[in-house]
Symmetry: C2
DNA sequence: CGCGACGTTGACCTACCTCAATTGGCGTGG
DNA sequence: CCACGCCAATTGAGGTAGGTCAACGTCGCG
């Protein structure tokens, strides 16, 4: 269930036209590893993946680097930068990638005109946060084998959808070095771990493809539970975001203080 | 710069009254470790910390547990649950804590009435995401000493504000076991690490307090850079969230397709 | 006074890291 | 079409940060 299918399902045809026109205005190509946004910069534009994958990462002063998220075609990478004076992370191409850059005014105008699009991206931002939490468990609690298996499961499911027939394949653009940066392991140890997965359930990794002949086996190793991806909830999720965007001067609940009330705050928080 | 001060600065007095009235409607007390929301449950209410700390966590089938975030008084713990059919994480008291539970209808009504409050919490959700990213670097890249030092720095700064006079103290409600669950280490190793920090820069931890006689030293060990907390940007940040909430039927940009246009989508995304 | 929760210590172990060299595939230029 | 060079994957040997297990100390509280 690739993200762009979700978008197609959630946008009206009219919205889709506006959205794609917006994307078409300014597309950029990046080479492998090239930075699109660097930590500390003032963000000027929003980035939407058109083709290839994009990585969000952060690095320590001494060069250690952690990949924080992977974005696939259709995904908006940095809604958060909309609201922040200087970026607290970097964005780079995983390998050759094409990315639409949307200027702030264009984005504002579009979102203002299509509240539904705003809601879709707010919702997808929440899903991205859920994915981050799942990565935190990997980094903090899972062993190397589980970590790598879990990453493969996630990437597979994000492209092919949840309950899958065994044996299938999908794109896979990360090098073993990048897997290492995403999982907090060493490139060498990732290599050994991948070999172990090959041995145990026939996973094939290479030539930019991932083949999974035994998804059940792989997801058992990973203790993979796809709920956190919130598939199948997209429509309902977006609807539930809606209340945040409605404004009305309604009474909040019975006995509620009115705006005229200028009583001192209760000082509840201690 | 505790979160509740930020709230006070950003809300109008009128909003503050409404907000606190909302909090006052239903306050609950929890004991140490008691769950407020369990993974997989359908979330019914939003939780705002009144006193004590709250932890967001997730656990693996075999019981390994990762603390994902710590919430302090004034913070809304689970805006994301607003939009989700079943929670993908759990919420529990770090130790005895008092928490306001806001029903969905109340929350909708309040947010509808005070868009500014919605914006404040959307912004704070973005900051929470930034904190999560910083934790990911800890989990993936930092050594034990750096990890624990970084956690202490964060907790200290979140309570006392950014540039601090050396020597100060603050609340500290985590046990060493909980520090271990947050940092992905072992309780035993956390103990040894804390002792090392005591030796190196005189940190004192105990009796629910954290004393930091040499913050500069501690933050050097941690390579702590407080930018990710986005202090001092709260007001501007909230203003920048605003465009997401404005609706208008404006032309998006020159040459933009109109709603009448029902041309097929461009098929840009590949 | 006794119990339970936290913190502390020691001995031993292993999952993963480091360093370093080698192999294989692929795109490019001759 | 081949040769070169680059990038990614692989292999080996040896080291260490941090884990495991188990016991003991200490503080606060009922």
């Amino acid at each position: 269930m690739p993200f762009r299918e979700i978008l197609n399902r959630l946008m009206t045809p009219g919205e889709r036209v506006l959205w794609e026109a917006c994307l078409a205005r300014n597309a950029c190509d990046y080479r492998k590893g090239e930075d699109m946004v660097r930590e500390g910069e003032h963000p000027r534009v929003l980035h939407v993946v058109l083709s290839g994958w994009v990585q969000k990462y952060k690095e320590l002063p001494d060069g250690r680097r952690q990949i924080l998220a992977i974005y696939m075609p259709g995904q908006l990478c940095d809604l958060d930068l909309f609201t922040v004076a200087r970026s607290d992370h970097s964005l780079a191409a995983v390998r050759a990638a094409s990315v639409a850059e949307i200027s702030r005014p264009d984005a504002c105008a579009l979102l203002r005109r299509c509240p539904n699009i705003t809601q879709i991206f707010c919702w997808s931002e929440l899903v991205a946060a859920a994915v981050q939490r799942e990565w935190m468990i990997s980094l903090g609690q899972r062993h190397a084998l589980e970590r790598v298996a879990h990453l493969l499961c996630e990437i597979y499911v994000r492209q092919r959808g949840a309950p899958n027939p065994d044996d299938g394949e999908c794109d896979f653009f990360l090098t073993q070095w990048q897997i290492a940066e995403a999982t907090g392991l060493t490139q060498v140890h990732v290599n050994r771990t991948v070999q172990e997965l090959r041995r145990r359930c026939g996973v094939e990794l290479g030539r930019l493809r991932l083949r999974v002949p035994d998804f059940a086996g792989l997801s058992t190793i990973a203790a993979f539970n796809p709920n956190y991806l919130h598939f199948g909830e997209a429509g309902a999720g977006v609807d539930r975001v809606a209340p945040l965007f409605e404004t009305a001067d309604v009474p909040v609940f019975a006995g509620f203080p009115t705006d005229g009330d200028r009583a001192a705050p209760l000082g509840l928080l201690s």
